[in-house]
Structures are given as C-alpha cells and as structure tokens.
C-alpha cells in the first residue's frame, strides 16, 4: 500500500483527537493513581512485556480457538438454516420466528446456562459464543435467501437448469454478500461475548487474563488486554472481511 493511502486512512483530525484523549488520560492518571487509571507509559510497558514473553499469543490464541469453534459452528448451522429456508417457505417462517427469540435472549442467560450445563470448561464460552452469534449470522443468510430475485429463478426454469445448477449459479451468489456481512457482525460479537464468558471458570483467554489482572491489582494489564482485543478486532475486520467482501463483489464495479 502506498504512503498516501496510509495517510488518508489514518486521517489527521482523528489522530489529533486521539492525542488529546491520551493527554487527558495521562493527566487524570497522575491525579487518581495507578490502581484506578494507570499512566500510558505503564500500559505500553505492559504491552511490551506480554509481547516479549509470548503471553499475548497464548491468551489471544485461546480466545480465538474458542471463537473459531463456537462461531464456526454458528456459521455452519446458519448456512444449513438458510438452505432449509430456501427449500421450504414453511421452514422459513419457523426459522425466522426462532431467530427472533434467540436474538432477544441476553448474553448472560447463555453464560449462566452454559456454566450449569458444561461446568467450568472450554465449552461454556464456546456454547455462549455459538448461541449469541447464530441468530445474527442466520438472520442475514435467511434474509439473503428470501431476497433472491424470483425473476432470475424463473429464467433458470425457462432454460431448464437443474435444481443444483440454479442453487449454485443463482441462489449462492446472491446470498453470499449477506453471509459475509452477517459473519462480519457476528465475528465482532463473538469476540466481545466469548471474552465475557471467559471470566468464569477457564484459565486462559483474554477475558480470563483481564479479570485475573484486576484481581491481582495490575490495572495496567487490564488496559493492555483491552488494546490487544481492539487490535484483533480491527485487524480481522480490515484484513479478512473487507478483503473477502471486496473479492465477492468484484463484478459490481
């Protein structure tokens, strides 16, 4: 990427405001002390330490592993539900209603229930992530399937395309952008949710280590891990999802 793209992307006014916030933060930290609000240099030093010790990889890796399973399963189930919704109008209505109920269910319900069901294990955050991201991804897929242009399907009928061909040539390409958009939102949600679920009962992951840092009064480490989380989120968004959606819609421009 060229230098000019970077400067355009970083956007100077934003940087100015960020600098101002850091300055205010620093001033406040002097007033309230390291336990309440650690100073920016302490956070940077903490970040350097976890990168150097490799801790940043173990905990990020543990969180991403749980997300990969919970969120991955949610995507697979969402696609299957989409397929069902495509095959039957009746199923579409049922799926739609159930997703509305799931959407209305709080994260905390799933965290508590999964601790009861799975105990203090890896499966609690995985299950929570699955239940929270499923309705987001699935609603998108079902909406995409419902939005497939009937006129294109009729064209397929006129030219006697097989059911499979109509599915791969018409339904899948028109639904894919919806799936990717749903996955983008779902992944962000997965990261936020699984970290919360990690507070309970597991001994690795960003959520665990943040809570642990709080308990041992290392407030600067709470900030460090928050920064790590933001970095993971931003990077996957920019590198993975933006690239994929750009590639998928190449034909649009």
């Amino acid at each position: 990427m060229r230098w000019r793209d970077w400067t355009a992307r970083l956007h100077l006014p934003t940087l100015a405001v960020a600098a101002l916030i850091v300055a205010v933060w620093w001033a406040l930290s002097l007033r309230y002390g390291a336990y309440v609000l650690p100073a920016p240099p302490a956070v940077l030093a903490g970040l350097r330490d976890v990168v150097r010790s490799g801790e940043v990889w173990t905990h990020t890796g543990a969180s991403l592993y749980r997300i990969a399973i919970g969120f991955g399963a949610a995507v697979v189930v969402a696609v299957l539900l989409g397929l069902l919704a495509f095959l039957s109008r009746l199923a579409r209505g049922v799926v739609h209603d159930f997703l509305a109920v799931l959407n209305a269910t709080s994260v905390f319900v799933w965290i508590v229930v999964s601790i009861i069901w799975f105990g203090l294990s890896n499966w609690a955050p995985i299950f929570t992530t699955f239940m929270i991201t499923l309705p987001v991804v699935a609603s998108n897929v079902v909406e995409g399937v419902a939005g497939v242009d009937r006129r294109l399907l009729e064209m397929g009928d006129v030219y006697r395309l097989s059911g499979r061909r109509k599915f791969t040539a018409i339904v899948v390409p028109s639904t894919l952008p919806y799936l990717v958009a749903g996955m983008k939102v779902g992944f962000g949600l997965a990261l936020k949710v699984s970290v919360v679920a990690e507070i309970f009962g597991v001994t690795s992951g960003i959520g665990y280590v943040m809570n642990y840092s709080r308990e041992i009064l290392a407030t600067q480490m709470v900030f460090v891990w928050a920064l790590v989380m933001i970095a993971v989120m931003t990077l996957t968004d920019k590198l993975v999802f933006d690239t994929v959606s750009r590639r998928l819609t190449r034909w649009r421009t």
């Binding site: 006129r151 009729e154 009928d157 006129v158 395309l161 061909r165 390409p173 034909w251």
Partner: protein, 250 residues
C-alpha cells in the same frame, strides 16, 4: 416449428384473456400487438409454458405445451428485463443455459462466444453485465435465448427499455438474426411501427378480456404506411373500449 394457439384463455381475479387463437408456420415472425394490459405478456408466458392457461391449449408441432412440465422442445425467452446474472461474465451467462445440454466446457465456451458474436458482442465476452450498456445486455439476453438453438423464440418487449436509436439498431439485428437462423419467433410489442417493421404475421389483440381482433400477413402487399395507419386506428378503438368499460366491478 409450427405453433398453434387454440382458444387460450386466462382468468386471474377477472378474465384477462377471453379466448385467443392463431397459428404460425415454422420460421414465421409473429408480432403480438394490443392495448396495454390486454394480456400480451401473459399470452406469451402461456405459449412458453411458464404459466398455465385457464382454457384452451398451445401446440408445438402437434405436441401440447403444458406449464411446468419437462419436454424435449427448446424454447428461448427474452424477457422485458435482461435477467442476466450480474456475477457472471457475458460468456458465462450465455454458457450457463447450455449446461443442461451436456456439452463439454470447451464446447460450451466456443458456442457461447459464437452466439455472442452473432449478437454483435464479439470482444465483450469477459465483461460483467454491469459494465456494458443496456442495449448490450439485451443483446446478450438474445444471444442466451439463441444459443440453445430454440425451436421457438419468445420475446417480450425486449427493447422497451432502450432509447429510439438503440431500438432501431436492435430491430435490425433481430431481423437479421431471424433471417440467418430461421427460427419461429413470437414477439410482443406495443409499438405498431416496430411490429410492422419486423413481423411477418401481425396478431392484434382486442381490449381485455382479449380476443384476436385481427390477424394480418405483413408480406409487403399492403403498403406499410397504410398498415401502420389502420393498426393505429384499431388500437385506439380498443384502448377506448377498454377505458369505456371502466374498472372491473364498477
């Protein structure tokens, strides 16, 4: 392929088509004319087996056309909109309809390219529909209809979305393609000038519920200008009749 439409009617909430009968020999270019809303598109869809008729039947070379039933005949349809898949190149759009014919990939590609060339799109095979003009998209849709070597080619106001100049060009193109391929064509239009310019048989439908008002052979024996005048008079009568009838139930 010989086309016989006998006593075809269609009711939705109200009768739209009362009873329409006409016949066309193989290789004829039939233009369906009539006031707006008289069921021209519906009739075309019935002929193509896309929609069932309420009454009557359509025969192609003595075989009945029944909606939603698989048959051996090949029917190409050009819709009012191009109905191209925006995520496929023009070549892949045309090649797609060859997939049920069990050709190899290379042969599909070559055939698609040949018909795109016939439609004046040589050099644009790798373009996505969104990157070419509306006229070119409609040409690609025509190439797609022709590539299956249809026994019957149905066209539903295919140039409705085009400007006058492109329309004229496309009319000439279709006329040329028809002469080169000798397909039986049924072409719906609301433009009398268009019908007289390209059709060999003109079928004028009456106001709703429609019947055949007049079937005219356009073989040059009647002077074109006079034919256009006569048809204009007829269509105005029908339009008045339809409006005079008022909304159904009133």
């Amino acid at each position: 392929m010989k086309l016989e439409v006998s006593g075809v009617g269609k009711d939705y909430l109200i009768p739209v088509i009362d009873s329409v009968s006409f016949a066309a020999e193989a290789g004829e270019f039939v233009c369906l004319l009539g006031p707006n809303g008289c069921g021209k598109t519906t009739l075309l869809r019935i002929v193509g087996g896309i929609e069932p008729a309420t009454r009557g039947r359509v025969m192609l070379d003595g075989q009945p056309v029944i909606a939603d039933q698989r048959h051996q005949r090949r029917v190409g349809v050009v819709f009012q909109e191009d109905r191209l898949l925006p995520w496929l190149t023009l070549r892949d759009n045309v090649g797609l309809v060859l997939t049920p014919l069990e050709l190899g990939a290379a042969e599909r590609r070559a055939t698609a390219d040949r018909y795109l060339g016939l439609a004046g799109l040589a050099g644009f095979e790798d373009y996505y529909p969104g990157r070419v003009s509306g006229g070119m998209r409609q040409r690609a849709a025509i190439a797609r209809a022709l590539v299956i070597e249809p026994d019957l080619l149905l066209m539903d106001e295919p140039f409705g979305a085009l400007d006058a100049q492109n329309r004229r060009i496309m009319q000439n193109e279709v006329r040329r393609i028809w002469r080169q391929t000798g397909r039986t064509i049924v072409f719906v239009t609301h433009s009398i000038e268009e019908a007289v310019a390209i059709g060999t048989t003109l079928v004028m439908l009456s106001a709703r519920p429609s019947r055949v008002r007049e079937q005219i052979r356009n073989d040059g024996r009647v002077e074109r200008a006079r034919l256009v005048d006569d048809l204009n008079t007829m269509i105005m009568e029908e339009v008045e009749r339809q409006q005079g009838a008022g909304p159904p139930g009133a």
